[in-house]
Amino acid sequence: MSDEYLYLWFGMISRLTHTVKMKIAMKYGGIRGLWGVPENILKEELTDIQAGAILEHRCEKDILEYENRLKERKIKYIYPGHECYPDRLYDIPDPPMLLFAVGDIDVLKCHVPTVAVVGARKASLYGRSVADRIASDMVRAGVTVVSGMALGIDGVAHRAALREKGQTIAVLGCGINVPYPRENYDIYHDIGVSGGVILSENGLDVQPEAFRFPYRNRIISGLSDGVLVVEARKRSGSLITADQALEQGRDVYAVPGRITDAASEGCNNLIRMGAVCVTSGADILDELGIRTCREKRFNKNLLAPIEKKVYSCVRLESRHVDDICLEAGMTVSETTQVLFELERKKLVKQLVRNYYVRV
């Protein structure tokens, strides 16, 4: 039995959590040891559920069949010792024994700076626009963006990276072939075809269950040099990722929010506890030691006077078109025409219908 198949077999056991699996494997002298333990001993010493899960696929035929199913779906798998297994994962406390992958796994070999962007699923317009700005700034500087393909901040970060044609890694908490959540199917599809990679510790058809996500988070932080938390409430899954990043010795960056914003409470707490306060992509690049020639900011004096007037009424925080009209002192009809032009020049953007924000 080759190492490759042993790791694959171990990865196929999806009914037990990573911790439990590792504990059992250690008890019997590693994965190879576990493979050889007679059935009756396992049944005696372990609970029914544990023994059942381990014995379920413990035969070569099942493994070969599983491998075929993976091949049909163009799913690869990597394990410690594989040439593509990311170096960063070797030095975290509990590295995954197997990662299923879709897309270009060579991305994992590259030694480019990598930053995880995480945050609330129910993000505010502010969180969305900030995540989008910072992620695209980083991608333009050649940083790989890692995230969890969840709704909200995660999705914004992935989309920004895809839009800027950069590298991005999505780590799923469900099975590798389960594009969850449905709303982000476009990301799942686009990463697969455009030079990114999707990873998951879980094999085929594993449904998203709450307990799997904290394990997923350790891989997100493990893959990165630093973790950026964009928006997090007081008790948020993103804070688990930040905790694990600290345990793994990664940097934690946080975007500050207004002190009255419940949606930013977690971030503000992180900053108080010593996280790096980040207000632009350049802040992170500085931390990572990447020198960037500051991009030439666009000069607003190049705009037509009327466009300049409207642009100056649009803020970083989203504003309703009524307020913009009012401040600019123009009719709705004129304002919407100018806003359209600004949108076309990619200077402003509508995050939600009728609410505009600077890009």
């Binding site: 699923r121 317009l125 709704l151 009524d322 919407t336 509508q350 995050l351 939600v352 219908r353």
Partner: protein
């Protein structure tokens, strides 16, 4: 009793008492009446025949039970008005016999027909006169529904005189060239037909009524502060009869705005008014003494409304809310709370402007050209996109939004998100755009459309089909490039881009421009904006 006989039953042709000489007995007569199918009238002739045989009264002609009962009512009413039916065989036929006869309006024509067959009313006096009315047992003539529809139909068929219950006379008098004779009693009617009593025809000054019917107490747009974008959207919607959806937090002023929409719409023309009055007349919704609907309807059904109340229905189909809103505004507040099937039923009428209801007896067609004004909250708690206040989960918001189907949303041209007004809007004493100013622009645009579509079967830009779009919306090369950009960059669907063109046409009409140019298209894209829905 004999006295009554002697008084009334004078043979019309010889002046002697009827039945005194057999040869003077007129056996057959024909009276014109009508019924309503959907909102349109159909003429029915009521034939009666009296001849020897067992004394019975037979009624034929595909009658419903309420028409069959007319026999009893007529017999009693005749008796109580001092006319005795002869002891002979009376046959009544309502033709054409393949239309099912419903309603109570046949009582009076049947009574008149029998009296004519008996020779009490000269047959030449009832030619080409439409007669409608229900009889009480005492001979009183009661009001009926749908009079206008039948009278209008008779008018189109060349009839110029009608006899209707007094309570319905105002309604019938709307048809200006029709001589409307109001009656209250059977005996009075008979005397009128015998030529011994003159009845003053009812007259209605329709023009004055239309003028005098003001916009009521709906309020003025000047009172709505801080919603200039929405007001512009409403103005465009009203000018081209586009549908509009307002999304915004509770208490932002959505209903307040919807209620004011009729105040910026043009006054009804006589034709429109008749069309609407016909619907209200069939539904029995005309107030007592009201002869015409002079104000554009504003219907705002509650969200618990049933499918049939919305589309129209019932065993004998009655117009539903979408037809009652014909020519006016159908306001659906809390759109996602409406039953899904209730909303879906509006899809076809939104496209075609009519609703067809099939029943055993045929297909009923109700007009339903209305302007749909809908309002909804952005999420169940109503605070989205303000994340500090919104307590809904992502899934709740998605679920809430998914209650309105995509095909329905696709039929809504104008989408505006409303924000909560802030203190400065309310109390800093600024005055917003007022109804008069908006109405002026709407009138200009509608006048332009009226002239443009004179030879077409449509009235408003929203009704343009794709063929007409290319005929009436000529784009220059800049505009074509612009549309191409929108199509590719903004994921505009084919239907979506037609919608944008139609809105742009309306904006150009408001601005008084003959051609649609880029600035109109830009604004149109802003208001269409159906796809950037919610940021979840």
């Amino acid at each position: 009793m004999y006295m009554g006989y002697a008084l009334n039953m004078i043979c019309a042709s010889c002046g002697e008492a009827a039945f005194s000489r057999k040869e003077h007995m007129i056996m057959y007569s024909k009276v014109l009446s009508g019924l309503v199918q959907g909102v349109d009238g159909t003429l029915i002739s009521v034939e009666s025949d009296i001849h020897d045989g067992l004394p019975v009264m037979n009624m034929v002609g595909y009658l419903s039970s309420c028409v069959r009962e007319a026999g009893e009512r007529v017999r009693t009413a005749l008796r109580n008005s001092n006319f005795n039916l002869p002891p002979k065989r009376v046959t009544i036929n309502l033709s054409p016999a393949d239309i099912r006869k419903e309603g109570t309006a046949f009582d009076l024509p049947i009574a008149v027909g029998i009296l004519a067959s008996m020779g009490i009313i000269p047959t030449e006096n009832i030619n080409n006169i439409l007669i409608l009315g229900e009889l009480g047992l005492d001979g009183h003539v009661n009001s009926v529904n749908g009079v206008l529809a039948v009278v209008h139909c008779a008018y189109l068929n060349g009839i110029r005189r009608c006899v209707v219950p007094l309570a319905n006379a105002g309604e019938a008098a709307v048809i200006e060239e029709m001589e409307v004779i109001p009656v209250t009693e059977l005996s009075e009617t008979v005397e009128y037909f015998q030529g011994i009593r003159a009845i003053e025809p009812e007259y209605a000054d329709v023009k004055a009524m239309l003028e005098e019917n003001s916009y009521g107490d709906a309020g003025d747009f000047a009172e709505v502060l801080g919603h200039e974008t929405l007001k512009r959207g409403v103005e465009i919607a009203a000018a081209g009869m586009h549908n509009i959806l307002m999304t915004g937090p509770a208490g932002a002023g959505k209903s307040m705005i919807a209620k004011r929409i009729p105040t910026i719409m043009p006054r009804l023309t006589l034709d429109e008014s008749i069309e609407i009055t016909k619907i209200y007349s069939v539904a029995g919704l005309l107030r007592e003494g009201q002869s015409i609907v002079g104000v554009r309807p504003f219907r705002s059904p509650h969200h618990t409304i049933s499918l049939h109340a919305m589309s129209g229905g019932g065993r004998i189909p009655q117009p539903g809310e979408i037809s009652l809103a014909h020519g006016g505004v159908l306001f659906l507040d809390e759109l996602p709370e409406f039953g899904r099937n209730v909303l879906e039923v509006m899809r076809q009428p939104l496209e075609d402007g009519v609703v067809n209801i099939s029943r055993l007896n045929g297909i009923y067609r109700f007009p339903a050209e209305f302007m749909l004004v809908a309002a909804r909250n952005p999420c169940p708690c109503g605070q989205f996109p303000d994340m500090n206040k919104c307590t809904c989960t992502v899934n709740q918001i998605k679920h809430y939004n998914s209650r309105i189907s995509k095909p329905l949303l696709d039929r809504i041209d104008i989408n505006v998100d409303v924000r909560k007004v802030d203190y400065t809007d309310l109390f800093e004493g600024r005055v917003g755009t007022g109804s008069a100013e908006m109405r002026e622009r709407v009138l200009t645009a509608q006048e332009v459309q009226r002239r443009r579509y004179e030879n077409d079967r449509i009235r408003f830009n929203s009704q343009l089909d794709s063929g007409m779009c290319s005929r009436y919306i000529k784009l220059g090369s800049t505009e074509k490039d612009f549309m191409e950009y929108c199509f590719e960059q903004m994921n505009l669907s084919a239907r979506g881009s037609y919608r944008v063109l139609k809105i742009a046409r309306t904006i150009a009409d408001i601005d008084g421009d003959t051609d649609v140019n880029e600035k109109h298209l830009k604004e149109a894209v802003f208001f269409r904006n159906a796809d950037s829905q919610g940021g979840v």
